[in-house]
Amino acid sequence: MLVNEKIAIEHGLKSDEYKKICKLLKRIPNFTELGIFSAMWNEHCSYKSSRIHLKKLPTKGKNVIQGPGENAGIIDVDDGDAIVFKIESHNHPSFIEPYQGAATGVGGIMRDVFTMGARPIANLNSIHFGSPQHKKTKNLLRGVVHGIGGYGNCMGVPTVGGQTSFDSSYNGNILVNAMTLGLVKKNKIFYSKAAGLNKPVIYVGSKTGRDGIHGASMASASFDDKIEEKKPTVQVGDPFTEKLLLEACLELMAGDSIIAIQDMGAAGLTSSSIEMASKGNLGIEIDLNKVPCRETKMTPYEIMLSESQERMLIVLENGKEELAKKIFDKWNLDFAVIGKTTNTKNIELFFDKKQVAKIPVNTLVENSPMYDRKWKKSKLPKKIKFEKSKLKNLKILQVLKKVLSSPNICNKEWIWRQYDHTVMGDTIQKPGGDSGVVRIHGTDKAVAATVDSSATYCWAHPLTGGKQVVCETWRNLISVGAKPIAITNCLNFGSPEKEENMGEFVECVQGIGEACKYLEYPVVSGNVSFYNQTKEIGIKPTPAIGGVGLIKNYKKMITMNFKEAGNQVLVIGKTEGHIDQSLFARLVLDEKNGPPPEVNLFNEKNNGETLLNLIEKNYIKSAHDVSLGGIITAISKMCIKGNKGIELTIPKFLINEIEYFFAEDQGRYLIEVSKEDLKNVIKILDKNSVHYDLIGKIIDNDMIINQKTKVTIDELKSYNTNWLKEYMV
């Protein structure tokens, strides 16, 4: 087929971009070449709208071994151990085919991690759905959860945490973000940078089929009425083959045969081969007839753009082919030498003995478009004047009941019980806590991981929202006794071509950057997902942040369940009564405006570090950060999980009960301390100028508020657990 501008535009390229291609090549590309350009230059692979902003994120730190730019980020966790981790979106495919979309999302992120030599040790996920009343929500939720479980469970990697939210802005565009952590020895890390001439290029894994051709372009196109037409581009996951691929790759990696390795993710063979060549400043030559194909008569175009799953590309040392082949044969996987590295700095493809493409690698990578798109700054919304008298008339228990049973607060066990969270025998904190925690096998160390996002805050004020999410992950790590080390981020936004959406992106990224810099909590990997919208309606800006921290001695891990009657409960951090943008304001007052709670990075850091210090000294019996739903929601969860009650006496404050209990001021934690330790704890808090309120004492069965209002913990529990279960019946 002859290429012209119209065909280029059908490939998702812009007219200017097509002209640029012709100029770079000094000719019109052929059809295969055009396919390659369109895949490499689309938003998903080229980051053309986001690159200039992402550059501003802090990516260095004393624990960072590998920052963004590789398949995943890597941090040092002492003793020669390193943790490889990354989060990635699979939003569009999951909306079209929830089971396979979510499953292949999980498969893809695990490959990113084991391609670096790491054995995956924990999975997490951040999933966002439309309003529960929307007709598609239930099936999407069920399909996505089954898909995540279906893939992760079969791989034998525990899913230890995550986040689930509902908001009507996702009605036509759900979010499915999957995160994986892997463990590797520092001196056994593998990279994607090819090196050396005439080295064999090896294809391993599954065969190539016509799956997801143009999947990467789909991820960069917003949905319109013609979704149906895009349907066949969804891939089917094969977790069994991926498990074999994992074992085979790790077996080969134990030796010294591999020069570079890269999984075939978005844009399959195209992006993997080009990335390896580009990083190594080399050329690559591929004989497409050698690529193992599942279907007959596949064209070079199809082979290059197929997104069949469970495949890897490897550059081997010369002479290691036999040894490598033996391993892949043992695991019953395809293995083929399909090409070699060259000094031409071109990607050259052959098919039926003819050259079918020849493109300078740099035109695909360095010369890819980069845009500084127009963006609109957001103003901080004005504070809402809530009527105090109206607040005072609310019955606290009724409000609490409503909050605890609301879709975004309710217990998510229906979800995570379907994920194998205990396989590998090292899960010491299951889902349902503040972070998932797994031991580093055979050591005293453990890694904690959490994934969070707060789209409502980001929507109200992106800069504050961006900071807030980072801080929330920081708090979730500290709450389990882990020292936060680094984050990965998945930036889910609407169209970058719209100034509002681009503005949300730019300012969220700025907020994330500021928080990370201040907290010395760098970004080591991430992913951008734009065009999350149906027709003209974009989602709320949803940066999902995955935080990872280290617990040096896992026996010091903290959980959030209240432990013992008689112990004292304190709130760390100051409660100002900020209810604008709180769950309470939206749910009970139907108020959607106002600014999000302010983030004070000094307090955030100081409060968090002081709490870690208290944990180190063994003063803390349980801890939980205060987030959505405020203090009383957090306390309720601690009661429910610990099967203990509490007698609450709110400090004599100027603000009223409702504001005190449901405000979402930042930087706060709840801690449980024994009577004997209280004095010492207070001394340390005072010394560090950390604000605290003593708010209650643990008792046996009830929650009692200011000696007058009483509710049993069993009741609280039923409020909290019933909604999702009943919804999913």
């Binding site: 079209i96 089929g209 349907k231 969804v234 089917v236 094969d238 799953q309």
Partner: protein, 80 residues
């Protein structure tokens, strides 16, 4: 009456199950197999005696629930 629906993966869609079953059959010595594709089979008994109506009912079920037309095709057969 009883109506059956057979649901199969579309031609170009990967069938991981069929693939592994094929390998297993090979391993057991059945080496004259070219391909195995797995599908689903439903037998649905409906309160409807008119075959045409019964079939069109099952057709609707396939479209709305049983098959995922993104990746699957279906075929309806009268069983009894």
């Amino acid at each position: 009456m009883k109506i059956s629906a057979i649901i199969t993966l579309k031609k170009d869609v990967l069938d991981p199950q069929g693939k592994v079953i094929h390998q297993a059959l090979d391993g057991m010595g059945f080496n004259s197999v070219n391909e195995v594709r797995q599908g689903k089979y439903f037998e649905i008994e409906v309160k409807e005696d008119d075959p045409k109506k019964a079939k069109s009912l099952v057709d609707e079920m396939c479209k709305k629930l049983l098959a995922n037309l993104v990746i699957e095709n279906y075929k309806i057969i009268e069983t009894q």
